[in-house]
Amino acid sequence: MISRNLRPLLLLLAAPIAFFATFFVAPIAVVALASFATDAGQFTWSHYLRILADQYHWEVILATFRIGIVTTLACIVIGYPLAWYMVRIIRLKTWRRICVILLIVPLFTSNIVRSFGWMVLLGRNGLVNDMLVSTGIVERPMRFLGTETGIIIGLTYILLPFIVLAVGNVLAQLDTSLEHASCDLGASAPSTFWHITLPLSLPGLIAGAIMVFALAVSAYVTPALLSGGKVTVLSILIFQQYSSVFDFHYGGALSMVLLILTLILVAMAGRIRGKHLDGVA
C-alpha cells in the first residue's frame, strides 16, 4: 500500500523516472536483446562467441582500453598539477577566472573541429613536428596521425578539463589547516602531500578519472579522425556494424562488451576509493 503522503511525491518523480526509462534503460535493453538474437529472432550466443574467438577483436578491445588507460593517466599527470596551480598558486582572482574560462571554452566547440585542429597540428609538416625538428629533439618528423599516440594526444586535450575541474573542486574545499597541522607535526612538504593532500583529494581525482576513462573508451570522433583508418577502436568497429554492415545484432554484442568491460574497470576504481577513503566527503 502506498501511503497518502507518498502519492504526490511519486507523481513528482514520475516524469524523471519515465524520461530515465525511455532514454536510458530502454535503449540499453533494446541493444542487449538484439545482441542475443538471430535475424530470425531466435536466442543465440553466437555474436559473443564470434567476438571471443576472433583475435582481431581482442586486439581492438586491447587497443581501446590501452588508449583509455593511457589517456586517463596522462590527464591525471597533467591535470592534477594544473588544478593545483589554479587553486593554490594563483593569488589574483581575475587571473584564476580567466584560467577557468580558458579551460571551459573549448568544451563549447565541437569535438570534430578540435580533432581536425589536432590533425593539422600533428601532421608531417604540422606545428608539433616543426617544433620537434627545429629544436633538435627528433631528426625527422614523427608520425602521429594514424598512431595510438596521436589519438591519445587528441583525447587527452579534449578530456583534460574534466579532471582539472573535479580535482580543482576538492582542492579548493580542502582545509589548509590540515596541511599546516601535518607540517607542524614534523612532516615535510612532500610527505604532507602524500599523507594528507593526495588522500583527501582522491575522491575528486577518481571521479574525474572515471569520467575521462568512460569518455575515452567510448569516444568515436577523435579516434576516427586522428587514426586515419590505421588504428581501430571498439567505437569505430561498432559504428561500422551499425552504419555500413547493418548487423545490429553483432554491433549490439560489441556495444555490450564495451559497456561491461568499462563498468568492470570503473567498479575497480570505485573500490580503491572506498578502501582508502571510507566516508570522507
Binding site: D175, S177, L185, L200
Partner: protein
C-alpha cells in the same frame, strides 16, 4: 640565571601596509603557561603563527634555548600547535592521528603505537582509538588534538584559541584540565585567547596585546590591579576611568571635582587617569561622617541592578557615571535618585599617565 626557553626579540611583521606585529619582545621560561590576550586583530594569532613557522617575521629573531629557529620550516621546529578547529585528519582514525607526528619523525610503528596509547590514556580516550574524528564530540576532538600534539614531547606547545568552539560548561572544565595537564607535563604553553577570564584562570603570565604591540606582561592579578595603560585597564575586567591632574604639591585633583593628597611622592606633576575597579568603591548613605580616610565622592544613585550574588550600582558624580559592585543585602537608601557617598581606600587608587 637559567636561559629562557623561548626568546622573541624585536619581531615585526607587516601585511601590506598593515603592521600586524610591532617590535615584539617576549621571554618564556621552561614550563610556563603564557596567555596571549587581546581583541581580534591585535596580532596575537599572527605572533603564534610566526612562532609555529607558518609566517616569517620581517625583522627580529625567535630563539628556542638560544637557537635561532626563525628560518626553520614548521616541520623542523621543536614545538607543536593545537589548532583552533583542531585540524584532525578526517581520513585517519584517532590512533592514526596521534601516531602521525612520531611516525613522520622516524619512530618505528610499534614504538609510535605505544607512545600514542600513553598519550590517549592520559587524555582519557582509551576507548576511542579506532574511531574517526567525525564520530567524536567537540570535547573529545579537542582532547585528540591535544594528544596528537603532546605525544611529540615538544618543548613548547602553541594553542590557538582551542576552547572557543566548546560550550561554556565544557570550556570551564577544559580550562582546569588544560592547566592540570600543563603542570603534569611541564611543557611551556603559549595560549592565544580573546577571553580574559580564560587567561586569568589558566595563565602564569598574561601578555596583553593591542594593535600589534605588547601593552603589558605580568601575572593575572598584577595586570588586574596595576594595569599599565588605559587599554589594559579597560580590556581586563571593568574599570572606572577618571581624568585627574597632579599639581606641584602632590595633590590629586579630579576632573569631576574633589581632591586627594597622594601617598606616593614619586608621582610627578601632570595629567593622569585614575583607574578604579567597581568592587573597590564603597557606597554609603549620604549621612555618613567624613572620618574615614581615603577618597570620598558625593554621588547620585542612577540605577541599581541585582545580579544575584551581588548588586551593580550605577551612580553619577560630577557629570560622570561610575559603576560600583556591592555585596550584601538590598537596603532602603539604595534607590535611584537618592544622594550617597562613594569611598575608596587610597591603596586601591591606581594612576596611569595621560587623560582617559
Amino acid at each position: 640565571m637559567p636561559s629562557s626557553l623561548l626568546s622573541i626579540e624585536a619581531v615585526s611583521k607587516k601585511f601590506g601596509a598593515f603592521q600586524a606585529l610591532h617590535q615584539i619582545d617576549l621571554e618564556v621560561q621552561q614550563g610556563e603557561f603564557i596567555a596571549l590576550l587581546g581583541p581580534s586583530g591585535c596580532g596575537k594569532t599572527t605572533l603564534l603563527r610566526t612562532l609555529a613557522g607558518f609566517l616569517h617575521p620581517d625583522a627580529g629573531r625567535i630563539l628556542i634555548e638560544g637557537r635561532d629557529i626563525g628560518k626553520l620550516p614548521p616541520h623542523q621546529r621543536p614545538l607543536n600547535t593545537v589548532f583552533q578547529n583542531y585540524a584532525l585528519f578526517p581520513h585517519m582514525t584517532v590512533m592514526e592521528n596521534v601516531c602521525y607526528g612520531p611516525r613522520r619523525q622516524g619512530m618505528s610503528k610499534s614504538e609510535a603505537l605505544k607512545q600514542a596509547q600513553a598519550a590517549l590514556a592520559m587524555m582519557g580516550l582509551e576507548g576511542f582509538a579506532d574511531r574517526l574524528p567525525r564520530q567524536l564530540s567537540g570535547g573529545q576532538q579537542q582532547r585528540v588534538a591535544l594528544a596528537r600534539a603532546v605525544v611529540n614531547r615538544p618543548k613548547l606547545l602553541l594553542l590557538d584559541e582551542p576552547l572557543s568552539a566548546l560550550d561554556l560548561k565544557l570550556r570551564k572544565r577544559m580550562q582546569l584540565e588544560l592547566k592540570q595537564l600543563q603542570n603534569q607535563l611541564g611543557i611551556a604553553f603559549v595560549f592565544v585567547t580573546h577571553d580574559q577570564e580564560e587567561a586569568l584562570t589558566m595563565a602564569d603570565r598574561i601578555v596583553v596585546m593591542n594593535a600589534g604591540r605588547i601593552e603589558q606582561v605580568g601575572p593575572g592579578d598584577h595586570i588586574y590591579d596595576r594595569p599599565a595603560t588605559h587599554f589594559v585597564a579597560d580590556f581586563i575586567g571593568e574599570a572606572n576611568l577618571l581624568g585627574c591632574h597632579v599639581d606641584e604639591s602632590g595633590q590629586l585633583h579630579f576632573a569631576i571635582g574633589g581632591r586627594h593628597p597622594l601617598k606616593d611622592q614619586a608621582t610627578v606633576q601632570g595629567d593622569y587617569t585614575a583607574i578604579i575597579r567597581p568592587e573597590h568603591l564603597r557606597l554609603e548613605p549620604a549621612s555618613t561622617g567624613r572620618d574615614a580616610p581615603g577618597l570620598r565622592l558625593d554621588v547620585t544613585i542612577l540605577d541599581v541592578v541585582n545580579m544575584g550574588s551581588h548588586q551593580m550600582l550605577y551612580v553619577k558624580a560630577g557629570g560622570q557615571a561610575l559603576a560600583i559592585r556591592r555585596m550584601g543585602p538590598q537596603q532602603d537608601w539604595l534607590s535611584p535618585g537618592l544622594p550617597a557617598v562613594a569611598t575608596l581606600a587610597t591603596d586601591d587608587l591606581h594612576l596611569v599617565r595621560g587623560l582617559p
